[in-house]
């Protein structure tokens, strides 16, 4: 699945897609901005109301079109604006990860994490960490 000849890992800039829920993680991403915390420019955020909205299809489609890594960011357990949407996401992603591993897709390419509206710094460090991990893995090739 990896094309190691085309791009040298060192010069590779991964494209990462992040799904953020409106109430916690998207607000946390905004706070990173208002706090001017600098992080890797590799992520593109799609806002949804709740991480519970994220259909596995979206993630699979992202890999299909050549996104190198997908991040799902929700509210911390117990903090969900919609009572318990994030628990449902957790279960769903857990299942999806098992399936992806069957396909030989590296575990690091899909990550589920929690960011609160007060955690601008955490948001930034997750993005940086994800970017580095994907950079190390190299591009995901269609």
């Amino acid at each position: 699945m990896r094309n190691e000849t085309q791009v040298k890992k060192s010069g590779f800039e991964p494209k990462i897609l992040a799904f953020c829920c409106n109430w916690c993680s998207y607000a946390g991403a905004d706070l990173a901005g208002t706090s001017r915390i600098q992080y890797a420019p590799n992520v593109r955020v799609i806002r949804v109301m709740c991480s519970g909205r994220i259909d596995p299809t979206f993630i699979l489609r992202a890999f299909q079109v050549g996104v190198d890594g997908v991040l799902i960011l929700g509210c911390h357990p117990g903090d969900c604006h919609y009572i318990d949407g994030n628990y449902k996401t957790a279960r769903r992603i857990h299942m999806l990860k098992k399936m992806l591993s069957q396909l030989g897709i590296e575990d690091d390419r899909l990550r589920l994490d929690w960011v609160s509206a007060a955690e601008g710094k955490r948001f930034a460090s997750i993005i940086n960490d994800m970017t580095e991990r994907i950079r190390a893995l190299g591009p995901f090739v269609r």
Partner: protein, 559 residues
Amino acid sequence: MSDVRIGIFVCHCGKNIGGVINVPEVTEYAKTLPDVVYAEHNLYTCSAEGISSIRQKISEHKLNRVVVASCTPRTHETLFRNACEAAGLNKYLFEFVNIRDQCSWVHMQEPEKATEKARDLIRMGVAKARLLEPLEEVEIRVTPSCLVIGGGVAGMSAALNLANQGFEVYLVERDKELGGLLLNLNRLFTINGKAEEVIIPLIERVKNHQKIKVHTSTEVKGVAGFIGNFDVTLDQKGEERKIKVGTIIVATGAEVLKPVGQYGYGDKSNILTQLELEERLNKGMGDEQNIVMINCVGARIPERPYCGRICCMVAIKNAVLIKENDPRAKVWVLHRDLMTYGTEFEKYYQKAMEKGIRFIRYSLDKPPEIVGNNKVKAVKVYHQLMGKEMVLPCDMLVLTTPLIPHEDNQDISRMLRVSLSEHGFFLEAHLKLQPVEFATDGIYICGCARWPTDVPEAISQACAASAKAVIPMRRGYVRPEAITASVNEDKCSGCGTCVLLCPYNAIELQSKDGKKLAHITTAQCKGCGTCGAACPSGAISMNHFRDEEILAQVEALVI
């Protein structure tokens, strides 16, 4: 040819965006995107000039989708949506692209990469905007009346508040009389006034209020419908009656635990609960000289971990009354923590100490033991803070027990489709910020049915529940979230996955043409989209975040 006409407005936000991102270049790029017919950049799109430009360009270029690339939807979406609406465009045809908080501000040292990211984000925004659909905010009429279940101090207070605001109230009480738990109390802390002096006038006011219809000896037998339109069946001793209400307040209270089998309660004649002591105090005490009270009987134990919240004050109140009645009497209160929280209760505790009531701390590891056969003669207690066993002579043992939920809370919760917490009390929508609301719109909760409360707290909660109930009734309609889920009945298999997942009980399976199909009560849907993500048949569509829209965004990420 597509008839989609998109207009894009890119904001410099002074230097905030423009200082990092090449805004003119991005604007030019935006013009090349499919269906984009117009693009401009503004120093501040949110300024008066920016807003009027949006309105002007909508009509000038017959725009039917608008994209603003600027700060964050969390603070500015409403503003831009309103600008669209003012120009006659459905506000859901607006899409926000965040190029400041999540782009220029966080990549200040990398202007080129930030510009590239802005291009990507705008492309993704346009991809979604092309597919946006207008949404109608439907209005649901709200019947301006409320059903209050429970005629105790909470229920009556809620009813009065609603009725005084001019709304019709059906107050349903299962007992013969209004009044609830307070009917059995002697005096009320911390004022130590007679309970009847509070409850009787309240009952009179409720009974005499022309807006309140009191139904005693009546139970709620069935509830159907949703906010604004509940169909309620009342059952008065077998006689059924149907009413229609817009809102429902649950104020069914709680009951005092009877500690059967504990410390010899039930076997020995001189053991009472605090509630039974109230009656004795009301009628007149005997000549008991040594009174021992044990707190936390049946509370803060593994089987019932919660604290009864008000029991300490009940014990203090009755201890003081005994002492005032006969200053020679000795009163011991055995406790595990005195929960006299706040200003008034702590003072109440101090007053009791002044009066000579003595408090002894015991631990759950070494609970008090009683001495005596047919009657309690003494109580043995290990004084935890002296490390010493004491034997207290005892003419009367009083057990302080917590309020516990009614057993039939279960039935009410099923009927109303609201939840109970693990303790058996009703579960609010959010413990901190929505303490008197249920997750289901239009149904509210107050008083001891939610959690043990004293009288002022019950009244506060009753008024709070009334405040929530009155909002839709005053308005006369509810406009539920337009961003909701909807079911494509042709695709629905009736599997019920969504029904189980919905945190708001907004989905149920309904029979239609011989098939079981998911039906979403739009008025109850909050738009989280969990159902849509899980629907195996792809039958549920989440408005404004439809699969097509999100997939288009995903696909646009990579050119």
